[in-house]
Every structure is written in C-alpha cells, then in structure tokens.
C-alpha cells in the first residue's frame, strides 16, 4: 500500500545529502556518509553539544522556577521560603513565615509556576512536532485548527453556557472541558478532510486548517454578538491567556495529558528526521508515514488542547521555542523535541513572571507578554534567515 506511486528516482539531492550529514543519525538506516572517517568524531562532538544545550535549558527553566516562586506582589523573603520548605519536610527551622506567605506560596505561586512549565513545554513540543510534520519551521500547532477550535469551545461555554442550567456549578471546568473538546474536534475534522484512501495530504491539511480556522473565527464572532458585556470581557481575557487560574486541580488534569505527549514525542524523532527528507524518502527508509502523521496530529491536539483549556490562548511559544532550539542544535528531532520542551517551559516561566510583576498589583495577560516579546524575536529570525539564504 505504501509502495503505490513513487516518483522519486532514488538519487539524493545536494540538500538532502547535506541534511543527512548534519543529522549524522544512526536512526536513519543506510545514511549515505560522504565523509565516513569523520562521523564518529562529529557525532561525539555533537552529542556533547546537545548535552550542554539541554543542561543549559534545564538550568534556565530551573532559574525560572526559582524566580517565579521567589518573586511576586506579596513579598516573601528567602528565609521565609526556607522556613516553608523546612516546615513541609518536617524540619525545625529558625526562620519565620506568616500564614499568609505560606498560603501565597502553596495555593497561588507554586501551582502557577508548575502550570507555566507544563503549558510552555506542551506548546513547544507540539510546535516542534508540527514543524517536523509540515517540514516547515514556520508551522504552528494552530495550523491544524486546534487553537481555533479550543477558542470556539471556550466561547460557547462562556456565552451559551451561562444560559444553560448548572453553568453556575460547572463554570470554569465547563470552559476548560469545552475548549479541550473543541480543539480535538476541529483537529479531527481537519485530519479527516485531508485524508483520502488512507493517505493524508499534508498540504491539504494545511489548507483545510486555514478554512476550519476561519470557520471557528466566524463561530466565535457569532457568539460575541450574543455575549453581554461581562461575557465579552471574559472571552477577551481568555483569548489573551492567563496562568492566573492555576490550581492544583487544573494541574492534575494538565500534567498527565501534556506529560504523556512530552514522553511520547521523542519516540517519533527518528521518523520525523526521515520525514525531513520527504515523504517518499521516509517511506523507503521504512517509516510508516501515515501512522506517524496520525500520531503527530493526535499528540499536538491533546497537548495544545490541554494547555489551552487551562491557560487560554498563549501565542508564539509553539512557534518560537522550537525555532530558537533549531538555530542552536539543528533539525535533529532527537535533540529538538526534549530541548524544545525545556525552552518552552523556560520561556513561559519568564513570561509569566513579567506578566505578574510589571504592573503589580494588577496583572498583564500572558498572551500579551509572549506576543510582545515573541513577535520581534520571530521577525529577527525571519530577517536572519533571509540574510543567510
């Protein structure tokens, strides 16, 4: 079934050879090695570099966590932090912490910082997966409609949910569930539209995604017409994203979903590397291409759906984080996927810190921070790329 119409003549273009060389990947069978003698040295140099970058990114994310826990509108000195930790560990500590500081730490800041890591990692990994699937570094998880579908789901819950009985009790859970369901539904729709006779056309998926995005936009617009002032505000704030709704409950839902995606994603690294060469090439290399497409779309939908459900729309992380990593590490997905997760986590941790601190005691929606910093970075990347090419 996979062997139908192979138009490829089997010879590699110069670009492909160069790429395969950069990957130096034992995961790709029969990699044509133009410089066989140098490969082991190159590979070990590369492995060191990957380790270094991963460690640095983990360090950055860690710094983000420490800063996120230590800094905020309510002042909590390091001694109080230490006291709280010691208290939790059952150790007697000479430092003091007030009940209020304790509550701010454990009921507000910690779940929020943790949620930031989850959201950042989930969005960045999804972005990397999508960019791999579309073989385009400008791809974004939103391409297949998951964000727009989630927005429609959320809008439906915010506007229509209020008129349905029981909305009082369900409230935010309803919005989150509806957003998640909306994201999955639209993604499934886009995937179905692009699949014919068991084959998914990636370009069709892109176009179907654009159409479904527009459709969801129209749906949200229609709901806006019927929203009252308060609902309109809620909707606006939702589309700007916020980690302000972080609770241990939200984490309990988001962590397993996003965690599963982060753990599963690197298993696709070899296949995505092969896909970089082209679909038919990947197929020749033994990759079950259709299955990989299905899994990538499903993983991205679950991760983006879950993060969007708990934090609203947080833009640019899925686009910028993998892009930055690729600049440093190149396109090898075995390094790109975990490194993107760490980079995304660090970026969102930093952005949320800015969102909380800049206007304290008020707060900036995090989507504004990520867009305001992400867009210039992205433009710089674009110009940089042009300069290279």
């Amino acid at each position: 079934m996979d062997s139908g119409r192979v138009v490829d003549d089997g010879r590699w273009t110069v670009d492909e050879v160069r790429l395969a060389d950069r990957l130096a990947a034992p995961a790709i069978p029969s990699s044509p090695a133009p410089r066989p003698s140098s490969i082991p040295a190159y590979a070990s140099r590369r492995a060191r570099r990957v380790r270094l970058v991963l460690t640095a990114l983990a360090g950055l994310a860690g710094a983000g966590v420490v800063a996120g826990v230590a800094v905020g509108a309510v002042e909590i000195p390091p001694s109080a932090l230490a006291a709280s930790l010691a208290g939790r560990l059952g150790v007697d500590a000479p430092w003091a912490i007030t009940d209020q500081q304790e509550a701010v730490l454990w009921a507000i800041r910690l779940p929020r910082v943790a949620l930031g890591l989850v959201v950042g990692a989930g969005l960045a990994v999804s972005g990397a997966l999508m960019q791999g699937l579309f073989r385009n570094p400008l791809a974004d998880p939103g391409l297949v409609g998951v964000s727009a579908g989630a927005a429609l789901g959320a809008a439906l819950a915010i506007v229509a949910g209020a008129t349905v009985g029981g909305a009082d009790v369900l409230g935010p859970a309803l919005v989150a569930a509806s957003a998640f369901a909306g994201g999955l539904t639209t993604t499934l729709l886009v995937y179905r539209l692009a699949t014919r006779d068991g084959r998914t056309s990636v370009p069709t998926m892109l176009l179907a995604g654009i159409a479904v995005n527009a459709l969801c936009g129209a749906g949200v617009g229609a709901l806006v017409l019927f929203a009252d002032d308060g609902q309109l505000r809620d909707l606006t704030f939702w589309t700007l994203g916020s980690l302000g709704g972080a609770t241990w409950g939200a984490l309990a839902v988001a962590v397993p979903l996003v965690g599963a995606v982060i753990v599963a994603a690197p298993r696709l690294a070899g296949a995505l590397n092969a896909l970089l060469l082209g679909e038919s090439e990947a197929r020749h290399l033994g990759v079950r291409v259709e299955r990989v497409k299905r899994i990538v779309v499903a993983l991205a939908a679950v991760a983006v759906g879950a993060t969007t459900a708990v934090a609203g729309l947080v833009g640019f992380i899925g686009l910028v984080a993998p892009h930055l990593v690729r600049l440093v590490l190149g396109p090898d997905h075995r390094a790109l996927l975990p490194a993107s997760a760490l980079a995304g986590a660090a970026l969102v941790a930093g952005a949320d810190l800015a969102a909380r601190v800049l206007l304290a005691p008020a707060e900036i929606p995090i989507g504004i921070v990520t867009a305001a910093t992400g867009a210039p970075v992205f433009l710089w990347l674009l110009l940089h790329r042009q300069g290279e090419g």
């Binding site: 509108a73 309510v74 009921a107 009082d168 309803l174 499934l188 916020s242 609770t247 839902v253 005691p361």
Partner: protein, 306 residues
Amino acid sequence: MIRLLPALLVAALLTGCGGGASDAPQATADTTASSGRPGRPAPPAVDTTRTYDTTRIVTLGGPVTELAYAFGLGDNVVGTDQSSTFPEAILAKPRLGYWRATSAEGILSLEPTLVLAMEGLGPPPVQGQLEAAGVPVVVLPDAQTLDGAETRIALAARVLGRPDSGAALTQRIRTGLSRAEASHPADAPRVLFVYARGAGMVSVFGTGTAAETTLGLAGAQNAVTSFPGLRPLTAEAVAEAAPDAIVIPEKSFQSLGGIDGLLRQPGLAQTPAGRARRVIAVDDALVLGLGPRLAEGVAALQAGLR
C-alpha cells in the same frame, strides 16, 4: 479514548479543584461557606451573621466601591479595580485590574482584611485563593431590579458593619424615587438605551436589564420589548422600537464620537428620536450600576427626557 477525554477532564477538574482548596495550608475554618466550588458566578450566599474586620478593604466593581464610600468607609479602601471611578478619591488608590480578571496575589499584597466584590469576580480560582490565605471574601449579588439593588445595599451595609447607614441610604433612595415618580410624564416616552464600545460594537438594552429598571423609575419605557439582555443594534430592531428618545452612557457616547457618530449607526437617524436629535448622554455609573446614586441617576435621566 478521545471521546472519553472531555468527560475525564470535567471529572478531574471538579474533584481536583475541591482537593486543591483543602490542600491549602490555612484551612478556611473562619471564613464563610468556603467555596471549593469553581463556580462562576459564585452563588451569592453572604454570611451576615459574622462580623468582618473593615480596617483594610479591597473593593472590586464600581457599585461596590460606591457603597463602601457611601457608608463612610472610603478611607479604609486600600485598593480597587479598574471599573471603580467614583468618587474621585478612588482614582488615587492602587488598581488591581478589571474585577473579572484580577490577581489573588496582587490583592493579597495590599494586606486587606476584607475583599468586597461584585458577582463575577474572577478569574474563578481567585476567591478560593484569597480565602486560603485567610482573607474573607464577600461577593455581592448582581442587581437588575430595584429590589435587587436594595438587597445589595442591605447586604453591603451589614457586611461593612453599618446597617443603619444602609437603611438610611435605602430610605434616601426611596424618597428620591418617589419625588421622581411625582413628576413622571403622563405619557411614558419610548426610550432606546444604547451601549457602545466604538462604532463596531453598538448594542441596545432589552428586557430584564438594569438599564430598563432605571428607565422605568424615571417614568420612561424601554422601547425594546422583543428580547432580553444586551443585543447588537440592528436597523430592524431600531425600526421596530421606534424610540422617542435615545439614552446613552457618557463613555459609550464618547466612543462613538458624539451625537453625529451615534446617529450614523444603522437606522437611528430615521427614528423619531433621531429626527428630533433627542439624545441624552448620562454618566455610566449613575445609570448602569443601580448603586447608591440610583435616585440621582433617575433624576438626571428625567431631567434629560423633559
């Protein structure tokens, strides 16, 4: 599997949020009916049996802020939200963002002894987070009718420890309203109540709204009878309403660029009100909030309609 996920999510959120509240270190033993419920709007069950410490109050929502000032507790207000713009003294106090999208930690940094908020306080976990930090949160119910407004005044007065001021305020409002009633026009004019945030976002108030209540108290009738709540303005709805006059809050009026901008909206210029250019712009908080200045709002409206 995928079909099951939303259901799982709901279940997990519900159980999880309940668990989250009890994880919090300082149990909410001393606060009112502590809400593990993530509900929005929060069920307005105000515990009026306990006494609240009102030395440092954070008020969230214009009408609530006005009530605190009306009861002479303005000096105790340590922070407020964006929508509170009256009295002028409030503008100098720390701002906590919009009351539907505020920040628990930001509120806590002002060390309040009481948070007095309007229904719709958000994001939803904020109330639980504040209570977990030992700060009592009182959410006052939304008011769309005169009864609702009086209930809210009475609740606020009891929570703020000024029940007598509350009764006096209600009395004052009733006096003002009966004075207004005495000069009701014999023939209630049909009035279109418009709300706008720029030319692309123009709506009109339908039935069951605070705007309709205010109109009724001023002796006018809402020209819109065919739908409840706030709906986008359409030429047909306007034609059906055929208003004798148009009432619009001051900020909405400015956002449209004054009377000419307003009358450029579809259908408005062709109504009796549009032809006579009978447009009354009134202070937002006076006519939309059903707050302590309700009688003044009604009087202003009546003066404009005369």
